[in-house]
Symmetry: C2
């Protein structure tokens, strides 16, 4: 069923008004009065609606049912990735949204090759990728995509989550399984992964002394764009959000 994200303000007396780009999209999809659509407020609530009007400028839909969006996971996960090169960001955003991330933030790690002053220019495009993926996968929110800043900002953000995982390829690490099995009831989490060259030892040490769980994902070396999606999937599986 076609899915639209429209902020709550448009709902009046059991009627949802669809304007602008979304109204054009109704036209593109050739949706006609009588057909059902889902309008999501972007806050986790789905309005199951039936179209009563569909013009180019404006469509109108009667609200049939209001439900909590079933696709939203019970855990709000912030995915934090050392800024990778090129379009790897796009892949991370799209797949993390599908896998259930609450927000996706990039940051500047020591081995980042991509320049940290470029991301701001890309925020608009990144957010559109997230919106598209949210619509396609039936999410109840449009996950926020953004720039977290420097590595210390990431640590500061992560320590305020119920669980913070720092994915690291070498040295002393905890088992991801053991950490996740011991943290099934969390409500918030952070997953931190590195750029192409991985993290420096001192970054892992800082994460550890900050109380983050420095974790292994086994002996296979994952690409920087694969690691966050694999870690997020494991967390979603372990917390019962993949069933």
């Amino acid at each position: 069923m076609a899915r639209f994200f429209i902020a709550g303000a448009n709902y009046k007396g059991g009627t949802a008004i669809i304007r602008g780009r979304d109204a054009e999209h109704v036209q593109v999809l050739r949706l006609r009065p009588g057909e059902d659509v889902v309008i999501c407020d972007g806050q986790g609530t789905d309005y199951k609606c039936r179209l009563v009007k569909a013009d180019r400028e404006e469509a109108e839909a009667e609200v049939l049912e209001v439900v909590r969006c079933p696709a939203e996971p019970s855990v709000k996960v912030t995915v934090l990735c050392g800024l990778p090169k090129g379009d790897r960001t796009d892949y991370i955003i799209q797949k993390s949204v599908e896998a259930g991330a609450n927000e996706i933030l990039f940051f500047n790690a020591r081995r980042c090759v991509a320049r940290p002053d470029e991301p701001e220019k890309k925020l608009g495009r990144w957010q559109r990728i997230a919106e598209e993926a949210a619509k396609q996968s039936g999410r109840g929110i449009i996950p926020q995509v953004g720039w977290a800043g420097e590595f210390v900002d990431v640590l500061n953000l992560a320590i305020h989550r119920d669980l913070a995982l720092f994915m690291y390829e070498t040295g002393e690490r905890e088992s991801l399984n053991q950490v996740l099995e011991a943290n099934k009831q969390i409500e918030t989490a952070a997953i931190i992964t590195g750029p192409e060259g991985g993290f420096e030892q001192f970054e892992a040490d800082l994460a550890r002394v900050s109380g983050l769980h420095v974790c292994s994902m086994g002996e296979r070396i994952l690409r920087c764009e694969t690691a966050p999606v694999v870690a997020l999937t494991a967390l979603m599986y372990a917390t019962g959000n993949l069933a």
Copy 2:
């Protein structure tokens, strides 16, 4: 450390001979005598070697240690995907190899848009993607990529695995968690996912009566190139191969 796949026949008296394209690669990487490399036989065994000669035509390495490749998972998983359009195949291959697949096969499902007579032409390119991903992620084998044929061939293949998962988006399904928790000791598995349009109801019914586990991965709709990687990751996590 640089990693090469060379079939076992080249090892003689504790010496590995690197020829052809691999010898050129040694040159490209500017590896010199005295430097260490890993030569894998593609059967799960790693030979830790030290270069003693590095010419354009041939390099020679002394075998220091022979170990079982630690990156190989305990479960041999066959990933079976309804042939998707365009370069989604490439993504499925690369990410499935990273995530630990033993082989990746495409097949013709009812809703496949891609023509089933095209795949054979692409096998060479697909296999090179698998080889590249296997080297990069430190695998002990180069997972086989191939064409499984029609849907019935897939069923026939899947019923001979210890566990066969059929990922389906709607209707009566088992919980992926429950199925995986009940099957932690498996040695072989098949994961079956659909093309862009998903499976037809009759395909899911056939899978069910054939004894496959028709499973849900939650309420988020995953793209056809995301679903196999997410399912494979969940299986690897559940069987202790992601720690």
